[in-house]
Amino acid sequence: MSSATESDIDPFTREVITNALQSAAEESFINLGRTAKSSVIYETLDYACGLIDPDGNVVAQANGVPGFLGTLNFCVEDTIEKYGLDGFFPGDIVLLNDYHGGTHLNDVAMVAPVFVDGEIVMFAASKAHWTDIGGKDPGSWTTDATSVFQEGIQYPMVKLYEEGRLNRAVRDIVEANTRMPEMTLGDMQAQEASMEVAVERVQEIADRYGKETLERAIDDWLEYGRELVLEEIESLPNGTYHAEDYLDDDGITDEPVYVTVEVTITDDSVTFDYTGTDPETEGPINSPYAASVSDARALFQAITLPDAPTNGGFFEPLELIIPEGTVLNATKPAPIGTDWESSAMAADLPWKALASELPEKLSAGHFTSVCATIVGGTDDRTDDEFLVIEPQPGGWGACHDRDGADVLVCSGDGDTLEMPVEVMETRFPLLFDQFALDTPQEAGHGEFRGGTGLVQDYNVYNESGAFITASFGRSEFPPWGVEGGQPGDGNYIEIVKHDGSTERHRKLTNYDLEDGETARLVTSAGGGWGDPLERDPERVLDDYRDDYITAETAEETYGVVLTDDGDLDVEATERRRRQLSTESTE
């Protein structure tokens, strides 16, 4: 609040300056999205652009996905630690993607200083998923790497630009270490251009208002974020809450991996303590610290003020305890290629712990996994290599007052656009036999139903075939229900062979598909909320008429009996519900 701060700039000017900073971050974000060459950037929006002050506070950030919410600040802090504030010059751009970047190696960050009167007032930073950065397999991330050194090249905070001059050696190393140099260099160019935009805009703002006013506005702004969230935390129910869960496996062995959280809410703080979580694994599901922080922050934002702009002050009351050496805080050289599988749990665990406490903020459990899929090969039409990388959307959990959303990207994705079938078919030698809700639904029932998953047939339409790499988590340990709602059914991949036989998988690396074979990708239904026997029979009838459920599910799960004409049999329904309810209490 203005009365609490010792500031002599008026609140309106502060508002105008912070708006301008926010819009600088957005402009740089839009610029990168429109020019990138990787679909992971322009459709999946797996990237973020931000402004970080020299103390490492996020001042403004535009996010395509929540997954970078906690990483840009670490990128800047670590870069400052390496070079020192006097080790930067106008026109520098630093490149990094190693453990310091804080997410898997495909996410390549850039950091650039903004100078005013010879002093750094701000850093522009961005991070984007590049399609291929070398490593043992196409697309770089895999489900079976056992060391980070198999997952691509590491850029250890090196200057790609020095005082505005391209460092040719670095660029050549980038080019030599990718299977798709045209795409990778295109992404790099787009990212550099977007950094320039951010730097230029901040420069303009600083020139116009002066360094001191700018700095004061930033301080006020961070204080505003703190105040904003503290007020909201006061309204959260104080207490200690607990949740635990398992990841299916680490990709190398079939052993489930245990994860747990204890959430403590007080009047002025929220703590997520992940102590007790299993150690880092041999396979690449490990999450570096910053990736887990990002997901934890996303959940924190969801339970406080989902609409608040990203602001470092906002996250100060969130305390995170993530013991080093666990699957949520892995150490080099543990592999981190599919880090989102475990980092998603940093959000999902406190979500599970709090859902019934905060029904206005949280749904029941959703399909959770990014269900990331790579399909590639040589396109016979052009003899060019192709590589499609996509997250798959799935079912979201029911809410306390309505059904869950059908087919929506997971909490780790955001304004991520599913690529249209018609676009996919022009770009890649694939045919889609179906692109549909996974109905009739056999899981996630409740007074309010979990949303349905997606069933999508990638049919190979290419004589030379194709390969598929995919990581479908939450396959064996399905999305959780709330207050008697049923769990969902789990994500999986089904390979349909020429002879019609099928194989079920949850993780695949470089699996060969022949021409005419199908990879059927199926995502889970979300968890239900409340007892299915409490569901309004009219809604059950609607579900039946819309082919969401069969007549049998209506009767056996919901206790709703239909007449031969498909209408509601009110009396039989009452009888059936009484009967089912007695059975369940016995």
Partner: protein, 685 residues
Amino acid sequence: MSENTTRAAVDIGGTFTDFVAVRDGTLSLEKASTTPENYANGVVDVLSKSDVSMDDIEQFVHGTTVVINAITEREGEDCALITTHGFRDVLDITRANRPDMFNFRYEKPEPFVPRRDRFEVSERIDQAGDILTELDPSDVREAAAEIRDRGIETIAVAYVNAYANPDHEQRTRDLIADEYPEAYVTLSHELSEEYREYERTNTAVLNSYVRPIADDYLTTLADHLEESGVEGNRYVMKSNAGTSSFSQARQSPIEMVESGPVGGVFGAARIGEQLGEPDVISFDMGGTTAKTSLIEDGDVDIETEYWLESSARDEGYPVQVPVVDIVEIGAGGGSIAWIDQGGSINVGPKSAGADPGPACYGRGGTEPTVTDANLLTGRLNPEYFLGGEMELDVDQARASLEPIADEFGTDVRQAAHGVLQVVNSNMAHALKQVSLQRGYDPRQFALVASGGAGGLHAATLGRELSVKETIVPRAPGQFSAWGMLLTDLRRDYVRTLVRSFEPDAADIVDDAFASMADRAREAFDAEGVPREDIELEYSVDLRYDGQEHTVQTPVRSDGDRITGTAIERTIETFHLRHDQAYNFQLDDPVELVNLRLTATAAVSKPAIDVLERDGRLSEARKAERPVDFGTEGTHETPIYDRSTLPVEVSFDGPAVVEEPACTTLVHPDQTCRVDEYGNLRISQQ
């Protein structure tokens, strides 16, 4: 173009139905209340109020919100969908994105066709247009019979890859006609020949949804117009800033979805051209929203990626038809200023609307609005609002702003100034979105301001963006209707054709354009337009191999055919445009995504004459009052009456120019010139 035609336009807005006519170069204006229960009544009212003789109207242009209202109020007709086997759920799946990223209870938009009324038929075409599975006629007949039995009157047909080969959709229409001839049928490829199945399917569905309503409306209106004696040609304003005949609009009403606001953009483009400033940013600020669009070299920018009801929180519904690219934000005269939980000041998007309206209307509104702030700073005249029809209550305005002043420990005047600062910053952001963020330098552009609140903020924004000059045209409150007077018949065709763009592709590109041109000519034939009046403009959407987003690039053809040389020249233009928009170009191969054809047929339009108004500036100076310019201080400011301002005079700021539906502010460091057409042209001293 003949000079003596009377052309009239009627634009239905949220509050008023505006009438503008030009005869012999003279402008007539009229206003009546909008009649939401039957919009045609408002049209008849405004026509009968006007002094223009109906028999003389040779061209009648109509902008209407009937389509967008039917959608936002969910008052359309039930409709059914027939689609490819395996794809009935594209309306539920949408693009599966979560724009409201940290909302873990996100609710997706509800499809306009319930799942039970979507029918799958056996058929499949691939992306090259080759038929993989023949259409099964019995599937279509069964679906049509079932739809008829359910009493559903409108049917959308959308097949996967129909943009590449419309054969199955066309045969489906014939099959439906056999079984259920009364049904209204919309085929997706007739509205859009672009890829993206969800977008195209939803477009076909929305067209079906509004078709019966639009059909009734246009029929009723045509009857009323005939009764009123308007017998000239009748046109409807489409979202692409062009017009079409009533009969064509009945077939594809979804093309009218942004019928109203585009008139203002088009008007801005024409004003710019007339004044020799073809690069213009249009800015239209009304009671609830502000809309802006960028016009380069006289051309309005047309997009086919339009989303209805989309926001930072909702994905909305896609409409894949040509729509002028407009950025709209919740900033208008009625926008409410409020303090959020963290103690920060915000303005809008909530608006006090027309009822109760701003606090100063004295109709029970208590929340502070932009209009209240303008009043307290002396910018608005309490005694000359709507030409004096309504007196504004300064005390109410002051009371409404007190809580903000208290919160920040300032006086009420400073609070009012703060509200204006914030709303101006929001609008400046929107103006930057259409210019700077797309690679355009606003210093090369003129700002054309309209709308009831436009003149109060235009000069401030123009200075903020350092535009060449700020232009406030005559009758800024009815500018959208005025813009409609100047429109031509126009059709935009966009066809997806993904392939490498190189000189060898000339024949394929040429053939595709030729078939699009044939379609355009046939459509104009049906409206009785002579072929020699049709003008065709070709452009292509290009990108570097591997990119997704494209840059629209005009095709530099010489003569009738598109040759390899023309393609080479087009590629050169593309490199330059990419560089302009994004600061870099690449040596990579270039890929074609869409072919675009704009077909226009000029209709005779009234000339805009210079305004003959002599007299002395001092005679138009009706008063002085103190006006608060914030950091520039409070000045005793001359007030001019616009209706008596002579042309070709200049005066320095500070100044206020008043007319019944609009007030224009000129800052102390600015100067204002009245040009020969009566436009106010404000620039820095």
